[in-house]
């Protein structure tokens, strides 16, 4: 059924005179998985938005060049046209309606209807909805994804990972899909969810659907894709068979220099002063329940929290910020802290960068500088100045701070007065990071700080965190599902398993120890097993 190749021919796009895509040529074959990679702001989403006829493209002057399907100009002027051409897309930003049920979201604009007298007179839109049939279809799509969540639950309040799967279920429910675009689908997924998704994508490709897969995780791209196209600053750099290229080469083509996440130096000295103690913390976060953890955090250290998805590692930071119901004792700087009073926690010098950045917090109609300054203004009265009896915003301080963040975090923008809505997804996330850092916190809780951020910027952000810890004595609790990330900057790493602390590891422990402990093996046994394995490997090499 799928006989056409999808081609981008000499595609270019300008946003108010600023060229963000220049003469892109690329093709996607039926049944192939074609990875698209490039730094934040390289133009990946823009290219896909062109394919999907998104209003943002056509309300800003359209694009140049041509999108062809089966050799013919596809003439896609709006998402409806794209759908008629059999193109589906899982957008980088959130495209579900929270107030709708999963079924309603999956079936949006493709509702199953039955004709009635009124519809015969007034047209198809007057047909009445067939809720039961819609539910059946939704169920089927969810089952294909291996999701055993009820199709009639409201999307509002679902864990982010689930939402992503609902979006994907919506796309695979479409009949006659020929090409499917995934714009960073794994950025909000946990490892096991990612595995799940990659398998589903392979299945779709096997059915002859052409897939475009965008991700910043090189290992995923290497494992999944048949070909990979690399963009840099809106320009095509290379298209290669994936089997002929390595992750390091991709990274080099993408950023223009070689990159690794290796740990620069050995142990750091941290002070003995306990800035926070946590005693028997329990957090009732659905899907990430914490069942009694106890630990101390020292001033100036970077404490890592790792563990498999669903074991509760994300619950800890969320609980400390009072996002979910909590029990347990927490002290901060020697004083008891009532974590349910989020505002007070913030005032005392704690800041939080949530893992759920898709749903949280940027005012897209406001400028970068306002977004960065906003919370600091609300919480700490920063960036304000007194002029006589009036308190005014200190525009100069706001500007300077924002410019510093833009530089430190490499936020790719035309100026700090640009609206955050005009930034690429990854750059929006960097703004979130800047916003948290502007609080100038004593203790920073970051969860998945580099999700959706390209490897160049990722290194930058990690280095910045380390710098802040070393030079300014900021304390960091970093929750992450990426081991390499944890090990590159943390002083110690707590492994969370079944809602409890399974043990504490040093960044220099081996991958095996980490892996074993995450799956519930005790520290001693993990060490022993890993040691034995190493000895064995060593022995074999010798023998």
């Amino acid at each position: 059924m799928n006989n056409g190749i999808l081609e981008f021919v000499n595609v270019g796009k300008e946003y108010s005179g600023h060229a963000v895509l220049k003469g892109i040529n690329m093709d996607v074959r039926p049944g192939e998985i074609h990875a698209l990679i490039g730094e934040n702001g390289a133009g990946k989403s823009t290219l896909m938005n062109i394919l999907f006829g998104m209003p943002v493209i056509h309300s800003t002057g359209g694009f140049t060049g041509e999108v062809r399907i089966g050799g013919e100009d596809a003439k896609i002027m709006n998402p409806h046209d794209a759908m008629m051409q059999g193109i589906g897309m899982v957008h980088q930003e959130f495209m579900l309606i929270p107030g709708f049920t999963i079924t309603e979201n999956i079936k949006i604009n493709r509702e199953i209807t039955k004709s009635s007298l009124m519809s015969k007179v007034f047209g198809k839109r007057m047909e009445s909805l067939e809720h039961a049939a819609m539910a059946t279809d939704a169920r089927k799509a969810l089952d294909t994804m291996g999701m055993d969540i009820e199709e009639y639950t409201k999307v509002h309040g679902l864990p982010v990972g689930h939402m992503q799967f609902v979006e994907i279920a919506r796309e695979i429910d479409k009949t006659g899909i020929r090409f499917l675009v995934f714009d960073e689908p794994t950025a909000v997924l946990t490892e096991s969810e990612t595995e799940h998704l990659l398998n589903a994508i392979r299945k779709l490709a096997a059915q002859g659907i052409g897939i475009v897969f965008i991700s910043h995780r090189l290992d995923e791209i290497i494992r999944l894709s048949d070909r990979v196209t690399i963009l840099r600053d809106g320009e095509w750099v290379a298209t290669e068979e994936t089997k002929n290229i390595t992750a390091a080469e991709i990274a080099r083509l993408m950023v223009g220099r070689a990159l690794t996440l290796d740990r620069a130096e050995g142990d750091r000295k941290v002070s003995d002063e306990k800035i926070m103690t946590v005693d028997n913390l329990r957090v009732n976060m659905p899907g990430e329940e914490v069942k009694g953890v106890t630990f101390d955090v020292h001033r100036g250290e970077i404490l890592g929290i790792g563990g498999l998805a669903g074991q509760g590692k994300l619950g800890i930071a969320n609980g400390l910020m009072g996002m979910y119901p909590v029990t347990g004792k927490v002290t901060f700087k020697g004083e008891p802290l009532d974590v349910m009073k989020t505002n007070e926690t913030l005032k005392k010098g704690v800041a939080f960068l949530s893992e759920d950045r898709k749903g949280v917090g940027l005012l897209l109609q406001s400028s970068i500088e306002e977004n960065i300054a906003f919370t600091a203004m609300e919480v700490h009265n920063k960036f304000l100045k007194k002029v006589g009896p009036f308190t005014l915003t200190d525009d100069k301080a706001i500007r300077e701070n924002a410019e510093k963040m833009v530089k430190d975090l490499d936020i790719r923008c035309t100026s700090v007065t640009q609206n955050t809505g005009a930034l690429s997804g990854g750059n929006q996330q960097k703004v979130c990071v800047g916003k948290a850092l502007s609080l100038d916190p004593e203790l920073l809780l970051v969860s998945e700080p580099t999700r959706g951020i390209d490897i160049g910027a990722k290194k930058l952000i990690l280095d910045l965190l380390k710098d802040l810890a070393e030079k300014r004595g900021m304390t960091v609790i970093m929750t992450s599902s990426e081991l390499a990330e944890l090990r590159s900057i943390c002083d110690r790493v707590l492994i969370i398993c079944e809602g409890k602390v399974a043990g504490e590891l040093s960044p220099f422990d081996s991958d095996e120890v980490y892996g074993l402990m995450m799956s519930g093996v005790s520290k001693e046994e993990a060490m022993k097993a890993a040691g034995a394995a190493q000895k064995k490997a060593g022995g074999e090499a010798n023998g």
């Binding site: 999907f52 998104m54 209003p55 709006n78 998402p79 409806h80 794209a82 759908m83 957008h91 495209m95 579900l96 309606i97 929270p98 107030g99 709708f100 079924t103 309603e104 949006i108 604009n109 509702e111 209807t113 009124m118 519809s119 198809k124 839109r125 007057m126 047909e127 009445s128 909805l129 809720h131 039961a132 539910a135 009820e150 199709e151 009639y152 639950t153 409201k154 509002h156 309040g157 910020m321 996002m323 989020t342 913030l346 939080f352 949530s354 949280v360 917090g361 005012l363 906003f374 919370t375 609300e378 919480v379 916003k435």
Partner: protein
Amino acid sequence: MNDMMKKLTGDSSFDLGNWVLDNIVTIIFWVFIILGMLTAKDLSLNGFFTELCNRFYRNAFLILSLIIPVIAGLGLNFGIVVGAIAGQLAIIAVRYWGINSELVGGTAFGGLGGLLLMFVIALPIAAIIGWLTGTLYNKTKGQEMIASLIVGYFGNGVYQFIVLFLIGAVIPVAAAHPMILYDGVGIRMSVDMGSTTYALDNLLQIPFVPFMIAAAAFVLLFVLWNQFIRKPKVEGQSYKMNPLKFWVYVILAAGVLAYFVMQLMTGGPMNDVRQVPVVLMLVIAALAIFNQWIMNTKLGQDFRSCGMNQTIAEANGINVDRTRVIATVISTVLAAWGMIIYLQNMGTLNTYTAHNNVGYFSVAAILVGGASVDKATIGQAVTGCLLFHAMFILSPEIGKAVFGQAALGEYFRTFMVYGVIGLSLGLYVWRANKRAKLAMPKEDEE
């Protein structure tokens, strides 16, 4: 208290403070009305109910016309004023021809036939105006409510220009016609509705008390059926009310039933309340059913999608602009018809002023029922209509009782109308801001 409410409502996130804040306008009105009932000394119960019912029959249709735009995300459509104007133009046309043809011995286009003709003529006028209005709303996305106010004023200007000048000066009319001003240009201050007056009201009437008994019995049975027998169409969906709501309904319905049965047997004052115009009630019910029905069509689902999030609706291939225009057209046409229903009850059309307050009053009424910029139901429209008009009737009485002056009460009710709109919109914006501004929202809408 809070814990008790949690248990009663079966909703663990129930928060009394939030609940009060969410329903503050409705609560203020209840308090006001109860106080009014207590203070107003010479208020006759049957007089009050006669007046209240009368106002309900007159206004319900207009208020119901506001629901669809709210669901489609256009907010409160103050622009129903132009719908009302369309209705008035239809009335003027039909009355003009009617009087003319009566003079030469033809039909007067009176009675029900005349009324239906008004409906038919109002339809295309309102549809075209609605289409223009909807197009304007699409050009002013995000500011629809302000645009709708302006549409009202602009529509008023155009209308005045037509009825004051064009008719006679450009559109040829008989100078001696009793509706035309003495110099042959423009329509007179008031137009008599002729025999279309009460054409709907008088069609079929039944006494109030038996009607209320039937209605209360119906509600009681419906609630019981809904709670215990009704099977959901789709798995997971449930029609069941929370225990508190269920018992409130049951007790209220049973109480009303018992009261009116008593009234019937003892011949109490309720027997003197004006009769119920059955056909008009059916028309209002039909509109309510239409609203409900349309929400269960593809178009209705599209209204909801657009109302929830335009960007997402658009990205899923829904023609958002068109959908919004359709919502506006429906609302405008319904408002036109609502105005005709209103005026057949009034008996005269005040050519230059009748439409003026339609927007404000209808919006205030639906807000009093608990609706907001992004949420409105039939129940809210109906309760709002009753509460709002109860306040209207009671204000002068309270003015008399408290200040010894009825006029003060009338100022007071104007104050209430604008106060309600201001308070509701203010609260809505405040809440929306709070949601957007908090760095880490723990939002729980719905």
